[in-house]
Symmetry: C2
Subunit: 205 residues, 2 copies
Amino acid sequence: MEKSIPDIVVGRLPRYLRSLEYMLKNGIKTTSSQELGESIGISAAQIRKDLSQFGEFGKQGTGYSVRYLVDQLQSILHVNQSWDLVLVGVGDLGTALATYQGFVNRGFHIVLAFDNDPAKTGKKIGDVTILGMDQMETKIAESGAKIAMLSVPASAAQEVAEKLIKSGIRAILNYAPMQLILPGDIHVEYLDPITKLQHMTYYLG
Amino acid sequence: MEKSIPDIVVGRLPRYLRSLEYMLKNGIKTTSSQELGESIGISAAQIRKDLSQFGEFGKQGTGYSVRYLVDQLQSILHVNQSWDLVLVGVGDLGTALATYQGFVNRGFHIVLAFDNDPAKTGKKIGDVTILGMDQMETKIAESGAKIAMLSVPASAAQEVAEKLIKSGIRAILNYAPMQLILPGDIHVEYLDPITKLQHMTYYLG
DNA sequence: TAGATTGTTAATCGATTAACAATC
DNA sequence: TAGATTGTTAATCGATTAACAATC
């Protein structure tokens, strides 16, 4: 019988990690829940509570070793390894994603790219050659990739997502302005700017 | 004494609106909390509860008029008007944002773009000419724009954000991989893919 | 040692779900 | 009318905060 960690807690860990990596890069050896909290706008109590879900990483009186906590969080999040990404939809946004260095820097490598425009297939984008959608299922299955970035039009997103899952994809970073209805064991994160803008305009009167 | 609506409820309204607009486009005249909920993976009870924060929009026995509810939600979210956007940072991602038609379609218009690279200033991107950062504060203040999209490197994000606020910006769509620490009356939404990917890799073992 | 800070428990707060009278 | 579905209240569930003994 395993304890299940709330998803909302897992979602905060990457933010802790980012701030701690920043400290590490700047030579800060030790921090406290208080200091870490101030750097990202979260209460010290919440940070201690969140971390306690995974173990005991600090020392009373002195706080946390930055290096040790970075190592632990990387391990918990499984980012102490390289991950293969699949890109579907190579429009303006897809092109920007394919050439964005931030992915590689954090161990995320685009290994396949697909587009349904015949004018694009065969061309290179970043390190990979754009393939047609007809090759999607077999190529992804071959690659063993588990994560896809979806930057197709909203009208195609649901259908493409279902094909991705058949190909073995288990997590989707969805840039399409479309809510996906998928099995519960598939992880989807949404990066649609319109929804976020409309959320903010509420407050702008 | 006004009742304050929870932010988490406000955040769901754009999703309701999107699904309802889709129904409207497809000629669906009436819907129920049940049907709407199934289309976006939210319980019927929650939808009714959320909507009840803003008024009574339905009819017992028949449900909601799609057109009426769309109108109401657009009005609540203030998206029945045009909004001016400012773009700061015109790299690959910024370029993709500037040319993305999805913004214009929803009434969001980029009216100013800034970059600190002298090689870029003076060039056109989308409908606007890229200006240098030195012109940022005055031009934004002149324009009266209230929303900015931030796609600068993480190292510059906090500083640029503070300048934006001085210029009159009150909401920031942050693409930089960096948590911003800003006054409480400034609204920030985060669209950083790395944090989302690291959230998902937790579950991929 | 004295001061600082953890990990954890209990208290509080807020969000979601269930249930149902009202009524179209 | 009978069936369907709302808006709302009460019950449940989960997340955050406060407090503090333990201890470095």
